[in-house]
Every structure is written in structure tokens, then in C-alpha cells.
Amino acid sequence: MTTESKKKEPLFSAKNKKLFSLPLFGNNPITVQVLGICSALAITVKLENAVVMAISVTAVIAVGNLIISLLRNTIPSRIRIIVQLVVIAALVIMVDQVLKAFVYDVSKQLSVFVGLIITNCIIMGRFEAFAMANKPWPSLLDGIGNGLGYGIILVIIAFFRELLGFGTIWGYKIIPESFYDFGYKDNGFMILPPMALITVGVIIWIQRSKNKDLIEKN
């Protein structure tokens, strides 16, 4: 409990704001920690899927972080991983049920990847590394921050893949018909997983060239 401070601090203190904003860019779970890559490759073909996935993961990680943090002093350390998994699994099943009820088509396209949020290492990582040792409020912020940090990258990748792969954004045609008349073609390769990996690579490259601190020394 080293991070807990003795006196009451304001809800949006500089430290708390940092918890929220750091994972968005400086310590992004995908581009800096390189976690959650598999789902970033799998479901970023269309913007709508990426947004639904981002919201789902953010909801799971934020609520999960809050629950784990509230329970942190009661969880027996010998079964803490099991408790964390139960919390994640329960939340993911709920998210899956909600998606099936309200956005049926998207949930069919996301198919197994909603269930696979359970294995998303970002969530386990935040529970174990942060929520187990911090108060509920900072944990909630940390959860939302990490969820959105993951989501932003997903949305950026999906934006380029859908634009270049289908010529659409959110299902609406963006590239004008006249381009096609001049011989422009949608790039089918963008729809395949390798291009998602390359897009992630380009994002990491741009981010590190802007922020030299992130470049490893060796």
C-alpha cells in the first residue's frame, strides 16, 4: 500500500489525472507495453467492430478494477488469480449477453473475440499490478485510462483498414466513385491480419519518433 496517501486528496489531483492520461499515450498498453495485440489484429477490419470492442474492454477493465480494488483486502493471496479470473469472466459474459441483446449483428461479427476478452492480458495485468494495491477511485481511473488507451489504438487501426480496405468509414462510402473510375482499387490486403500488424508498427514508429523517451537504450 505504498501509493496510498495519508491525507485526503482531491478527486482529480494531478496524480489521479496522470493515472487516467498516461495509458492513453505515454504508457499505452498496445504500442508501449505491447499487450493485447491479438485482438487488435483480429477485430479492426471495421470501425464499428473496433468501437464496440473498445467500449466492451473499457467497461470490463474499469468495473473489474473497481471490484478488485474494493475487495483487495479480503482476497486471499493464494487464490487471488482465481478471484481475478472469476471477476473478468463474469463481466465478459455479461458484456457478451448485452451485445447479443442490443447489437446482435456486431456481436455475430465479433464472435469469439468477445469471449476472448477474458484472456486479454491488459485486464489481468491491471488487476494484478494496480487494483490489488490501490484504492477504488484511482483503480477506476486507471481502468478507464487503460481501456481507452487500448480503444484509441483499435479505432486508429480500424479507421485506416476500413478506409483503405473497403473505401468506407462506419459503413458509409467515403472514397468517391470517380476515384474508382480512374482505376483506384480497394486494397484487399488491408483486410488481412498482416496489414493490421504493419499499421500497429507504423503507429509505434510515429509515437517513438515523437517521444524519444520511449526508445529502448540497447
Binding site: P76, S77, R78, A90, I93, M94, Q97, V98, K100, Y104
Partner: protein, 247 residues
């Protein structure tokens, strides 16, 4: 902090009970909404076999407008159930709610009380008979709908879907290119004998199958193609007595 074993047991027991109760509540609460989605998808699928494409949000009114009658027929071709104008006019079970899979299981076990669903669609004064089909694919179930003109012989349209056929090969049965081949095929030969429509490996032109009873198979998807042939034959043959009676 080290907890005692009994604490760990109590902790996990309580946790599991709470989580189970929460999940059960969520599932029960959202079930009606989820079932609605599945029903809407089924309606959309039935409509599309008759050539009526419609957006998800307009499915229910369109379905009620075009599908004028739902029939349940038994194996000797008698009508045992009629659902019309939003109410059950004969029989007890609405044909739309019949699980074709269970009825086919009954047939293979030789049970007698089989009721098969059949949808009658009225599109611009043309009567279309829509027959659902269900069968086994390579990796999982296949299903679909066959739409027939009012001679109960000529195919108007077909839609197929699958659970897990090989992407790019067997899964091509779900494409409109494959399904469009079925239009104008016939399931009875000129003498009135039931022959179904087969999916022919190597192309209909190069085979002994008459053009009217065959469509081209999918390269590399032979097992799925054969499965479609078998599904069509095994499902449609149950409707033959009804077709014969009404023809």
C-alpha cells in the same frame, strides 16, 4: 496477509454463489431481447429466399405483409397446423416456432408425429412456397430455405447458411453467386418423379445430371457441396406428399 484454509473455502463459495446469481439474472433479463433478434434474423432469412431483401429494422412488418400463411404439414401431406393473419387457425404449434432439426431427428427415428413448417409468401400476386432445409456440413450444421413457384416444382430462390464451413471453400454456399444458380431449377422430372436438385462436382455441363436438376459445385468444397445435395434431397422429400396433393 496469510488467510486460513477455511477462510479461502468460505470466500470462494460465497464468491461463486454471488457470481452465479448475477449471471443467471443477466441471462434471464436479456433473454427475450436476444430471442427477438434470432427470430428477426430467421424472418429475414425466409424473406430473402423469396427475393425480398429488407433491412433488420423493417423485418417484422415486411414479414407480416408478405408471408400470408404458415403451414405445418405431416409426412402424408396433410395440413395439421395453420397460422394466418397473426393467429393460430388450426393445430397448436405455430409453424414458425417448429425446430426443423428436431422434426428431422424424429423422422430418422421413425416417430410418427412429425410436423414440418412451410411458409406461403404472396409477392405481387405470385404465390411462393418457402421450405426450410437443415443438414450436416463438413464441420457443422447447414441450413437454408428453398422458395418454389406455385407449380411447386420450379425453384424461385434459395438461401443457405452454415455454422463453420471452411472459409473460402465450403463457406461459399452462403454467397449469392452460388445461391443464384438455383433459380429456375426443378425438383420433379417431366414424369413427376422427385429428383431434387444436386450440387454437381465438375460442373453440370460435364455430367450426366440434366441441366434442370443440377447446379455447379464449389471447387475445393466437395464435401460441403455433397452435403448441400444431401440436405436438399433429405428435407425436400418429406414435403413431396404435400406438393403432390396440391399440385
Amino acid at each position: 496477509m496469510q488467510h486460513s484454509n477455511s477462510y479461502i473455502f468460505r470466500y470462494s463459495a460465497i464468491m461463486v454463489i454471488i457470481v452465479a446469481a448475477m449471471l443467471a439474472a443477466t441471462a434471464e433479463l436479456l433473454k427475450p431481447k436476444q430471442l427477438d433478434n434470432i427470430r428477426i434474423e430467421k424472418m429475414q432469412f425466409i424473406l430473402s429466399s423469396a427475393g425480398i431483401r429488407v433491412e433488420k429494422k423493417d423485418v417484422i412488418p415486411t414479414y407480416n405483409k408478405f408471408i400470408t400463411k404458415e403451414l405445418g404439414v405431416d409426412l402424408s401431406g396433410n395440413i395439421v397446423s395453420i397460422f394466418q393473419n397473426g393467429k393460430q387457425e388450426q393445430g397448436t404449434i405455430r409453424p414458425f416456432e417448429i425446430s426443423l432439426k428436431e422434426e428431422l431427428d424424429k423422422i430418422s427415428k421413425g416417430a410418427g408425429d412429425v410436423v414440418l413448417p412451410l411458409y406461403i409468401c404472396n409477392n405481387d400476386g405470385k404465390t411462393i412456397f418457402i421450405v426450410p432445409v437443415y443438414g450436416k456440413g463438413l464441420w457443422g450444421p447447414l441450413w437454408g430455405n428453398m422458395a418454389f413457384a406455385d407449380d411447386m416444382n420450379t425453384v424461385v430462390g434459395a438461401t443457405f447458411d452454415h455454422k463453420a464451413e471452411t472459409p473460402g471453400l465450403g463457406s461459399e454456399i452462403a454467397t449469392t453467386v452460388f445461391q443464384a444458380q438455383f433459380a429456375n431449377k426443378q425438383i420433379f422430372d417431366p414424369s413427376g418423379e422427385f429428383v431434387s436438385v444436386s450440387v454437381v462436382k465438375g460442373g453440370v455441363k460435364n455430367s450426366s445430371t440434366p441441366e434442370a436438376h443440377g447446379v455447379d459445385a464449389i471447387s475445393g468444397g466437395t464435401i460441403t457441396s455433397n452435403a448441400v445435395s444431401k440436405m436438399l434431397h433429405d428435407c425436400l422429400i418429406n414435403y413431396v406428399p404435400y406438393f403432390k396433393k396440391d399440385q
